[in-house]
């Protein structure tokens, strides 16, 4: 057994933990990151499970990563390269498709092919979404104001909010209120007439949530997926060259260059607390480390319900953590292909095949998928967000062969079998049945898909939870509903990354502004930690 002392310890080497680590180490704190897996990255990993192929096992595309952070930490110097992809498509049952293209004129022609009236509608739609993106982006790298607090910092944040809102004007403010509270289905119904176009655009409103396309609040989730950028192109998405693990690798290298230490291979046993203050961590392998500052990259439920003695926090706080909703709603398939599958509907070499591909053709179909999930089943006709990144990034598969990533929704964590809902119902049989259901639906676009598969990794919500540690396999460490955003995230009164235990902080995406490989919670938390440690000036200005 070893005891070592650090200035700060971070539990969990996910991208947020690594980000916090980088900022703390750069500020001169002797920082340790501990990680239960033998690799770093959490849900931003690239792993090779079949020789020659690399999978982005969990998260798979990149846009939300704040460029201020990329710049601060000089991530490109550590090998991070984000390659934008263009376009995408939704394939129908009758051998047609709707293609999204970044070329404006081509997109207009494609929309007009399905509905001439929707060309206008699209212009209004994208204008509204862009306006809301511009409104929200300045908030991502700031603490959420606590409206119940009279502290000058909170009042300052509140004043910033009011100023931004006032700048919108009366009508715009009304539209903003509506946009933030309505469902993506209603929002799209207001604009478009083509079911197919609506279905194509709706996916971003539900990805990662336990909500349906007609659940109020899903228009915000759409925004959550549109507010990122690649090289300043707002709303664009890209591949990290070498898979999402490249982000973690770059962060890890930056952290180590700044003097930080990473220890993989042993998970946390518990946070050590004395007299209401954190004093360090104890690992499962018996190692103990001391530090006056400890940050948890785990979600708020895992942190407080599994690794903290309930006696060390107020009962109300534990209650609030228990009712915080982290719902598993998605599964993931990573597939090695022997060659590019056939898309009979698409023109030869169509550029949109390099983007996100889908097979859900109406809002009703998507909503039905949600109904299945509510009842404890995976969607009979699942929605998926499917990409073949090896077309753009040849490092992902051997020459001529391809790698495909398929994000599947909805799949419940507590699967219902014989009337009983439980995570334990996920086993090899149910996992294979889920994969089969997805392949059936994929055949809508690629009739030969089953023949192309060399190897597939099928990850149920339970698998994601067991490996990555995300409760229920939820990709955002907590639902993105109003009651869990801004000053309510993760627990009212603790949206500033602090916890009832002095010195213990939350740096994962359970905290504001939430998930999506954004690194904003990690950076915001680092700012808060440094400020409280009297080292506020050590935080670079851009992210402050």
């Amino acid at each position: 057994m070893t005891v070592q002392t650090y200035d700060a310890i971070i539990v969990g080497a996910g991208h947020n933990g690594l980000t916090t680590g980088c900022y703390l180490a750069k500020a001169g704190l002797k920082t340790l990151i501990v990680e239960k897996n033998d690799w770093i990255g959490g849900a931003a990993v690239s792993r090779s499970l079949h020789e020659g192929w690399t999978y982005s096992n969990c998260s798979y595309v990149c846009s939300l990563l704040r460029r201020e952070i990329v710049r601060d930490l000089e991530l490109p110097r550590f090998g991070l390269q984000v390659i934008p992809y263009e376009g995408g498509a939704t394939f129908t049952r009758d051998n047609d498709y709707f293609a999204y293209m970044s070329d404006h004129n081509a997109l207009e022609r494609e929309i007009a092919r399905h509905s001439p009236r929707d060309v206008d509608a699209y212009a209004r739609f994208s204008q509204t979404v862009m306006r809301q993106c511009r409104f929200i982006r300045p908030f991502l790298l700031r603490n959420a104001p606590d409206p119940t607090s009279l502290h000058p910092r909170d009042l300052g944040e509140l004043a910033f909010l009011v100023k931004q809102a006032h700048g919108l004007g009366a009508k715009e403010l009304g539209e903003t209120i509506r946009f933030w509270t309505m469902s993506i289905g209603d929002f799209l119904d207001e604009h478009f007439e083509s079911d197919l176009i609506k279905a194509h655009l709706a996916g971003s409103g539900i990805i990662g949530t336990g909500l349906g396309v007609y659940s109020p609040g899903t228009a915000y989730v759409l925004l959550h997926h549109y507010m990122g950028d690649v090289d300043g192109a707002i709303g664009a998405w890209g591949f990290a060259r070498g898979g999402m693990g490249a982000i973690s690798r770059a962060l890890g290298l930056a952290f180590e260059e700044a003097g930080g230490t990473i220890r993989t291979g042993s998970g946390l046993d518990s946070f050590r607390v004395r007299d209401g203050k954190v004093i360090g961590v104890a690992l499962e392998n018996g190692d103990t480390f001391d530090a006056p500052i400890v940050a948890s990259n785990m979600d708020v439920k895992r942190t407080f319900l599994h690794h903290v003695d309930p006696a060390d926090v107020p009962e109300d706080f534990t209650k609030a953590v228990k009712r915080f909703k982290i719902r598993g709603s998605s599964a993931k398939l990573n597939i090695a292909l022997d060659r590019m599958p056939e898309f009979p509907a698409a023109p030869e070499g169509a550029p949109f095949l390099r983007g996100d591909l889908h097979c859900s053709t109406s809002l009703a179909e998507l909503e039905r998928g949600y109904d299945d999930w509510k009842d404890g089943r995976w969607s009979a006709e699942p929605y998926f967000d499917m990409l073949i990144p090896s077309q753009i990034d040849p490092t992902m598969a051997p020459p001529g062969k391809h790698m495909m990533t398929v994000f599947v929704q909805y799949a419940p964590y507590d699967l219902k079998v014989d009337g009983v809902r439980s995570g334990r119902n996920w086993n090899d049989t149910t996992r294979a049945a889920l994969a089969n259901c997805v392949y059936d639906k994929m055949e809508q676009a690629m009739p030969d898909i089953r023949q192309r598969i060399v190897h597939a990794e099928v990850r149920t919500p339970l698998d994601i939870e067991s490996e990555v540690g995300l409760t229920e396999g939820n990709i955002f460490q907590g639902e993105l509903t109003f009651d869990q955003l801004l000053f309510n995230r993760p627990v009212p009164g603790y949206s500033d990354y602090s916890t009832p235990i002095e010195g213990l902080f939350m740096v994962g995406s359970s905290s504001h502004p939430g998930g999506g490989v954004m690194a904003a919670p990690g950076a915001n938390a680092a700012r808060e930690i440094l400020r409280r440690a009297g080292k506020g000036r050590a935080m670079p200005k851009v992210a402050a």
């Binding site: 409206p147 119940t148 809102a165 006032h166 919108l168 004007g169 009366a170 009508k171 403010l173 009304g174 539209e175 209120i177 509506r178 946009f179 509270t181 309505m182 209603d186 119904d189 207001e190 909500l211 007609y214 659940s215 109020p216 609040g217 109300d316 009712r323 909703k325 009703a364 909503e367 039905r368 109904d371 509510k374 009842d375 509903t481 109003f482 009651d483 000053f487 309510n488 009212p492 009164g493």
Partner: protein, 514 residues
């Protein structure tokens, strides 16, 4: 033929009548024009024949604003009714005055959890209730005018009262106000008939299940004036009585064909029979889109017409009225409980499941029902020992796939009666007369858009500053002298009278041109 008034009110629903009363009591010459033969709109009594009368559509009073009572002099002899959460296992629960007990009188295991939750919701609802008696707040006009300064004052008062709740309550309010009823209830209560009854209350009439964010707001909305429902003795006639008593003229039987506009000001209305009524101001208690159509879309900018057309108004509640030859057997309930508000919603999950089919144009397989037998409280409603059972049946689509054929109607009626029969064995043998009003029928009978209970979804994106739509939320409706005074205006549906009163007061502030 032409006649001149100060104000014409379109529609003699309770909001139209309330607006007319407020104005008439201020000495204005008011004419209320109603298309139906009888006043009352959704709050009216009907004669089922054979000496039985009962409430045709709305059947309880629970959210009438005291400010409305004060400004109109409307007075009801309201008999409070207990709420009975019916349980398939026979262990029914009674909710009365914020307390919960088993129907047979013993302690309910969830009583303290329920009472804490209920008290919290009622406290928060009172805060929201404050917003009901004023036009919705607007902050965007900032300090531009005295009027908006007054609004800011109202908002500041709300903020102050919120602050006065104390920090923990304030935090809790801000957490739950936009969240969903299902999670809120099940965080505190086990899922069963009590959670089911509250979940059903949260979404009655709405195109939404209890899992939809925003359903806590609608639950609190109905608790705005306390949470107990009451039966108004004699029915809802007091609204009509107050209007005519204050001197308003009531013209029933002919609808309005158009609102006449000249130079961007209303001049009056033309009725369907060609009669022209002139007035300096027109208040419409119809739906928001119909109100726009009556004056003609040409008078509205394109954004406003688009928003009005997109207002969500898909009704989901049908009404089943039964005349019975006797009081049905209800095992486990006392006589006082039989007269209560009976809720069939075995669990919150059941309510959510009942919602699913309506999204695709089908009625619930196992409907959620709120039933009441007003004749038990008010024997004057029926003679010869007859009883009236009035039931709101959810969820029912406005336009089912394949339309409202007799077979579809019969099937729905049978399903609702079957559901009730679980708790009232032998019910079907007592039925002398039955009427089913689908959302489609309700729309036809009352003009309520989509047959919607609240003239439009009470989702967060359609309340307060954005009700009925962004830019038209403060009763003045685009054209000089034209006002919206029905449930599609702030604060929304239920028999509150608030939209009518607030609109009338707005008109009085603006002034009526001679």
């Amino acid at each position: 033929m032409s006649a001149r008034f100060d104000v014409i009110v379109i529609g003699a629903g309770h909001n139209g009548l309330t607006a007319a009363t407020v104005l008439a009591r201020k000495g204005k010459r008011v004419c209320v024009v109603e298309k139906a033969a009888q006043a009352g709109g959704m709050a009216r009594m009907t004669d089922f024949g054979g000496g039985a009368t009962g409430p045709e559509i709305a059947h309880l009073l629970y959210n009438l604003s005291p400010a409305v009572a004060k400004d109109t002099g409307v007075a009801f002899d309201a008999q409070p009714l207990p709420t009975i959460a019916l349980s398939p296992d026979g262990f029914h629960a009674e909710i009365r005055g914020g307390t919960l007990r088993r129907a047979e009188g013993t302690l309910h295991p969830d009583a303290s959890a329920f009472e804490a939750l209920d008290a919290r919701l009622v406290r928060f609802a009172a805060l929201l209730g404050q917003l009901s008696d004023k036009p919705p707040p607007t902050i965007a006009e900032g300090l531009a005018s005295m009027a908006s300064l007054r609004d800011l004052g109202g908002l500041a008062k709300l903020g102050l009262n919120l602050k006065r709740l104390g920090r923990d309550d304030m935090r809790e309010f801000l957490r739950i106000v936009l969240s969903n009823a299902y999670d809120l209830l099940l965080d505190e209560l086990p899922d069963g008939p009590v959670a089911g009854a509250l979940a059903a209350d949260a979404v009655r009439g709405a195109f939404s299940g209890p899992r939809a964010p925003g359903s806590v707001f609608t639950l609190m909305y109905r608790m705005g004036q306390g949470c107990d429902a009451a039966w108004p003795m004699g029915g809802f006639g007091a609204f009509e009585g107050a209007a005519t008593g204050a001197g308003a003229t009531l013209r029933c039987g002919t609808g309005v064909a158009s609102v006449d506009v000249e130079g961007d000001r209303v001049q009056g209305v033309t009725l369907e029979d060609g009669t022209v009524l002139q007035a300096g101001a027109v208040l419409s208690s119809l739906g928001a889109e119909a109100t726009m159509q009556l004056a003609g879309p040409a008078h509205f900018d394109i954004e406003a017409t688009r928003r009005l057309r997109n207002m969500r108004t898909k009704g989901t509640a049908a009404k089943l009225n039964l005349v019975l030859s006797d009081v049905p057997d209800m095992p486990g309930l006392s006589d006082a409980q039989k007269a209560g508000r009976l809720i069939v919603a075995p669990s919150a999950a059941h309510v959510e499941r009942a919602f699913d089919p309506v999204k695709y144009g089908r009625a619930s397989d196992a409907p959620v029902i709120e039933a009441v037998m007003p004749s038990l409280t008010d024997p004057s409603l029926c003679g010869q020992g007859r009883q009236v059972l009035s039931a709101i049946v959810s969820y029912v689509p406005f336009a089912p796939e394949g339309g409202w054929t007799p077979a579809v109607r019969d099937d729905l009626t049978a399903r609702a009666i079957d559901t009730l029969e679980t708790y009232m064995p032998g019910l079907s043998g007592l039925i002398i007369h039955q009427t089913l009003l689908t959302p489609d029928d309700i729309a036809a009978a009352t003009g309520a858009p989509g047959g919607h209970w609240h003239h439009g979804e009470m989702g967060i994106d359609q309340v307060l500053t954005v009700r009925p739509v962004n830019g038209l939320s403060r009763y003045a409706f685009g054209i000089g002298g034209y006002y919206l005074c029905g449930a599609s205006a702030h604060p929304g549906g239920n028999v509150t009278g608030s939209p009518g009163r607030n609109a009338a007061r707005r008109l009085l502030t603006d002034g009526i041109p001679a």
